[in-house]
Amino acid sequence: MALTLKSITETTTEQDLQTKLAIAAAFVRKHTIASIYHAGSGHPGGALSSADILACLFGAELNFWPSAIDDPARDRFVLSKGHAAPALYAVAAHYGFCDAKAALRLRKLNSPFQGHPHVLDLPWVETSTGSLGQGFSVALGMAMGLKLQNIPARVYTLLGDGELQEGEVWEAAMCAAHHGLDNLCVIIDYNKLQSDNRNAAIMRLEPLAAKWRAFDWGIAEIDGHDIPEILSTLRRAGVTQGRPSVIIAHTVKGKGVKYMENVPAWHGSVKLTREQAEEALQSLGAGRGEIKDLLDGC
């Protein structure tokens, strides 16, 4: 029988939990850099910006465990911004869904860790993503299917901000509110940068909260790197009734790696030199031995 969120929180103080989640987020960032270094390509910026959110989801919020990946009553997580796959693989490795060393074989032939997540390669991945907008719709379908079958599980999906430019996103936003899918929670990794430039220069998203409000969603705006705030907001979203919730998480693209922060060029798909990878890992607090393990061990 799988552990429940309740049993975890009951046996852990809030302070301990936050410390554990911070460690998980650091692990995600370091493994993101290492796997992209080994792959010779990948999208570091939006993976690093989403690390704290992913750590909180997998480490505290999702009722989803390696021992019960087929449990119909599990909570579902869909990475709609599929290019943040390195971060998803890392957080899954940290929480025991896959082997951490294997997950460093990102984007390699015969590795299940494709450049974008694929449900048939990794059984704990809920659906294949990598075409923006679709993950949200699939998550919506899951939420609808769970409700139709009276399964009291929740569905979470992480969207990129650039992704919000897809028309399908607003089709889904309208649909989820119309059907009162209060078991659906969207989290937006709002790092303000997309592939080529700032959102504001490519296609303006603001006023973003007003857009979701107009679509009749429950809204929260938070600092997407503040673990206590992420946790408390996810918990509040978890008990919303009658309508879906969206969490607009303000983040920093490339968060944690000084030379990548807020620089559009690190959206991806980039090749990291040995020196860049070492500097990034140092910036993330990795020691000499850990850096060697991560960069030589694959």
Partner: protein, 324 residues
């Protein structure tokens, strides 16, 4: 396993979409996991019958086909069997959702498209999907079906619900002739000889099957013996049957209400090139868009009428006999 005909659903004159909608409604209790997705055209796709009998299982998505198509992937992921219904042209709009969220994820979801081909009629070129078979056939793992008459549509509807995997199936808008008897059988991946002959084989699907039979009848008056094959599954195509027909008659004509590129004709040509190459003539819309008109007028205007099929048979027999 061949599907068995349900009690008479799809009587003579019923359109294929009506036959589909009535059958789906009749099968709903037997397939409790089936849910139907609608984008505000239940009256146009035939699923108004299902909405009437099982309103709680008709999921309304509004006029938003991309979201509907991908959401079907999520519904399937929870163990339901989603049936996505819309017009064939709007399936093309959501084809990338069908590719990634249904086929690539290998979901047990069905796409049932009404209003295919010139058969749409007066709505005109913008509404006539002449590319859908080609597009869906190119998606790995996607089964593509185009039944020919109401009874075959009823059988195919049961078959796709029993089948585990993504399916694209064409229905049709205009009143359809009853071509087959109550003993008709349908099996995914199988075609059948519905009229025997030795000089050439016409391979047809959908509304063209009736026209192919008419063409064969006309040619009989010219002492030409023409075989007609009904090929309701375009993918996977019945290569064995095609090879046998090509070997026995030495010439093949394909007939479809679709562009000549990439549809049934393409599938038959690919199969025969690999098994038993023979001269082939393609009856279909010749790489142009459709226009407004009545279905039979359009068939004549765009060269897919019974007379055009007969002409193609004469051409292919001439090519066969001219071979060194």
């Amino acid at each position: 396993m061949a599907a068995e005909a349900p009690a008479l659903i799809g009587s003579n004159g019923d359109s294929l979409r009506e036959a589909f909608g009535k059958t789906l409604s009749a099968l709903a209790d037997e397939f409790p996991k089936v849910v139907v997705l609608d984008a505000d055209i239940a009256g146009g796709t035939g699923v108004h019958h299902f909405r009437k009998s099982h309103p709680e299982r008709l999921l309304q998505f509004g006029i938003a086909e991309q979201n509907m198509m991908a959401a079907a992937g999520g519904l399937a992921a929870t163990g339901l069997i989603p049936v996505v219904t819309t017009f064939a042209v709007f399936c093309l709009r959501a084809i990338e959702q069908a590719r990634l969220s249904l086929a690539y994820a290998r979901r047990n979801a069905k796409i049932v498209a009404s209003h295919p081909g010139l058969d749409v009629g007066p709505d005109g070129g913008s509404a006539q999907a002449l590319e859908d078979i080609a597009a869906f056939r190119a998606i790995p793992g996607m089964t593509v079906i185009s039944p020919a008459d109401p009874i075959e549509m009823a059988l195919a509807t049961r078959a796709i619900l029993e089948f585990d995997g993504p399916v694209y199936m064409r229905t049709g808008r205009s009143p359809a002739k009853r071509l087959f008897g109550d003993d008709h059988r349908f099996e995914i991946g199988k075609g059948q000889i519905i009229r025997d002959g030795s000089d050439a084989t016409i391979v047809a699907c959908g509304v063209e099957v009736g026209r192919a039979l008419e063409a064969a009848e006309r040619l009989a008056g010219e002492s030409l013996s023409v075989r007609v094959v009904n090929m309701p599954t375009i993918k996977p195509i019945d290569s064995e049957l095609l090879a046998r027909c090509a070997a026995e008659t030495g010439a093949v004509v394909t007939a479809e209400d679709h562009n000549i590129h990439g549809g049934l004709g393409g599938a038959v040509a690919e199969a025969l090139a690999a098994t038993h190459p023979a001269p082939i003539e393609f009856v279909g819309v010749k790489d142009v868009f459709g226009a407004s008109g009545e279905p039979d007028e359009l068939a004549e205007h765009f060269g897919i009428g019974a007379g055009h099929i007969a002409e193609a048979v004469r051409r292919v027999i001439a090519r066969k006999t001219a071979r060194p």
